[in-house]
Symmetry: C3
Subunit: 366 residues, 3 copies
């Protein structure tokens, strides 16, 4: 099924992504960034996956290769070009008007949000501040337990980010308590901090509440990610107490990715006025099956509560596939609804704009 | 796809619903009853949802409006009519032969079960007693800790209800122990009761066991509901110990709604001889996507174990959409099976009658 | 939709099944083995289920009966034949080249793995050692707490099994710790062992680690099973800590069945290099709906990580339906992908061989 013209032409706001790599990739690195696996199992290749087939089908032609070219031929051609040209090609093909970039993971390997926007056809680019990284930087700067809370506040006050992000899912899971920690609690938690990483329930809650106080929309990584996440602690339903405690503030909470808990996320986005969700990361990971899961994600979420993101990281192909497979899935959803006469074409056009950009612009105040 | 004639003509037993509102609704009230959200997020409307589109498509013609009319025009027309006429119109269109009504929530706003049956083309109407409400009434009547158990028993003995319902999911979650509490346990729990609401694991278990002793089928709210539920404590699998402990009694346990845990509910209904399930509430909430989820709900549940309910509350539109979307989903399921030659038409007709009414009549002894 | 010729012709490696019954079955026994229910509810029959309809449609013709024959006529015809002939007919029709048989449950009622292979057109047959059964035998043989660990090791060293299986899901759930227990820990756990069954987290972990030490691939029962399992403790995500702890050993861990957690299993199989999964048991239980769930199971799992199994037990019909519905589901998945041009026919043929047999041969070293 082709893409509906009004969906093909949508300008996207990618409300959650990372930077692209500054350099070419070996096959090993390419495979390691293609899925959430660190490496293929012996005797297998990660090109034999939904996203691997999607690269061979959809990305090859943009490098002037035939569809379904072999992985070897694809990578050979890709590495014969300058990585900047490759990135520009794929980013431009996404049709993205604005990128909201979490630059808090491996910043040295990746383009910054400004560089990403420039390379992507001069798109708007905004920063999302990763709260755990900010906390780690504050601590590394020498702030002691008593000074920590105010130092975090000063950093957030000075930030030009349009939103904040927590990777609690990777550190402590999503079962956050609701209440706002006192500075006493924070000092105690900083005192007990061991290791490099911020992995404290109290500090996570503190960070998120500070973002909320500044009316910064807060993104949570939810569900699908690499093996460093403990997925059984990443069900968004575990956030229920926290969502109840924060609803009256009216600051948006955005549940990212969500697969395979996307129905749970849609439920939360329906029943809590301040909750929103997306299907980033999963959309390109699902390849040609993305449309079915996308339809599931839209089962009960109000259409004013669902956003687009690519969650692309490193490989420029993933920005393109994220955008393309989102368009296909949205188009399939709307075309199916129109065919069933569930809604009119003008309703479909309105939903398309809500999901592609309007919801994000409203939520982040862009 | 149209509805198979033998499905269109089925008389339904709606084994779980509530009453309809006695009065007209403002747009604010209408939106608050349309989904499980209390209110729309700023800048959005809950008409932009699957069920909102379903109202505009399916309900509008019954009020002599064109399909897909705007929310404003819909509500204006609706409020120009007498609410009793509106309710009669939608209830009659459901094709329901019998309603089993949980009248334990907001009884002052809603028609009683008898009034509902009368308005609905003179359908049979039966009461389902809400156990937590009964317990709260017994306590409010002044029964102390020692008298409580017997007072509950007397109320149940005097009740003409055909089944009982627990909202444990909203109060304590579904992780009930199996054993039957002693009167000593009950007295202790009543002694420790604070607040208005019955929210004690011991008391819930006591209430359910008393219902089972009287051979009253017991309904459990499971899954999808408003933000007052903690969905991660509402997975029906949490009932496993309780189901194991009660199976030998042979009294039916009915798992209501179940979305997004409908596959888990189907599993329980397969492996425990006394467990049954439905897809109430979700069916209309899912709008034009109800058929896919309905097919999922029927994956492994034996066809003698699945029932129809609307779980409609307040808005007469929801009774109609519950019944209509159930018929469509059942028809789609059966038509697809017949097209694949998975079963014969006479099998399909038999399944249709089981699910629409026969299972409910057998389970509740109607 | 018919089955693609190259899928119809695939030779299968059934990497997890049990033996077939030695004797005819009464209707009561047949129904009790058809699903995971012990018995039908009063007034119902388990033939009214997806797998019941599949028997009537697909199995009847192999006994020279018309499709969709009644359960009574089916069982009458079946019992008029010699059970060995019935079993040979269905086993031969599976197209299985190799069976990996868990003979650890009810061995007296069932054919051994060698007998199964012989009856199944002379297929290869290999043993999978059930770890809890081995532990119970070691204990029953009189090994005391101090001798237990070495006695288990001796048994494993002497075994010719090509893999091991744990039914932790039925005994203690899947929330295993990661670390390898010391012999001290084991002695203590054996000392505390009460009852017949091995149901100790420490002993389970010990058994699995001993298998890993011997580089025996380890199968875990996950998800769908009878009411003896507590499904909420059978989510494969609960294995995360254990999988993290064992990944560096490189010994395959195979997640069996997985429904309704098949997406979670696919996730684990993607992110952990040593994890593999299947959809055994569910495939035949789902009957004509198997293809949809199969497509879900293949959403993010790399194609080098998914295997075929029937998990058939007792009834020869279940081996046939397991194989047939697997072929149909795989064919539907590949045909849909080719129709969308998501991959080429030669890719499809390669995936088919990986999933049907090559992955199993690589994992088990057959």
């Amino acid at each position: 099924m082709g893409i509906l013209p009004f969906v093909a032409e949508l300008g996207l706001v990618d409300h959650h992504c990372h930077g692209v790599l500054r350099t070419d990739s070996t096959r090993e690195e390419f495979e390691s960034l293609l899925t959430e696996a660190a490496a293929p199992a012996p005797g297998t290749t990660l090109f034999d996956s939904a996203v691997g087939f999607a690269v061979r089908k959809w990305c090859a032609p943009l490098l002037d290769l035939p569809r379904h070219v072999s992985p070897e031929a694809y990578l050979e051609r890709r590495n014969s070009l300058h990585i900047t040209e490759v990135s520009r090609t794929f980013l431009t093909a996404t049709g993205t008007l604005a990128y909201l970039v979490d630059g808090g993971f491996q910043p040295d390997r990746l383009l910054s949000f400004r560089e990403l926007g420039d390379l992507g056809d001069g798109a708007e680019a905004h920063e999302i501040v990763r709260l755990e990284t900010l906390a780690e930087e504050v601590r590394a700067s020498g702030a002691g337990p008593r000074a920590f809370a105010d130092a975090v506040r000063a950093q957030l006050d000075a930030s030009s980010a349009v939103g904040a992000k927590s990777v609690a899912a990777y550190r402590i899971g999503l079962a956050l308590e609701g209440s706002r920690p006192s500075d006493e609690d924070v000092a105690r938690a900083v005192h007990g901090w061991s290791g490099e990483r911020c992995a404290s329930e109290v500090l996570t809650r503190f960070l998120v509440w500070e973002a909320i106080e500044r009316r910064l929309p807060v993104q949570f990584h939810v569900g699908y990610g690499d093996s460093d996440a403990s997925l059984h602690r990443c069900d968004p339903l575990l956030l229920t107490d926290f969502l109840r405690a924060t609803e009256s503030r009216g600051v948006p909470i955005l549940l990212l990715h969500n697969y395979p808990f996307h129905r749970n996320a849609g439920y939360l986005a329906q029943v809590f006025t301040h909750v929103y969700c997306d299907l980033g990361l999963a959309t390109h990971a699902l390849g040609h099956q993305a449309s079915r899961v996308f339809a599931e994600a839209l089962e009960i979420v109000p259409f004013g509560k669902f956003l687009y993101s690519s969650d692309a990281f490193g490989l420029p192909e993933l920005y393109y596939l994220g955008a393309l497979l989102f368009r296909r899935a949205l188009s399939d959803f709307l075309a199916s609804g129109m065919k069933q006469n569930a809604f009119t074409e003008s309703d479909a056009v309105r939903i398309a704009h809500l999901v592609a950009s309007d919801n994000a612009r409203r939520v982040y105040g862009l």
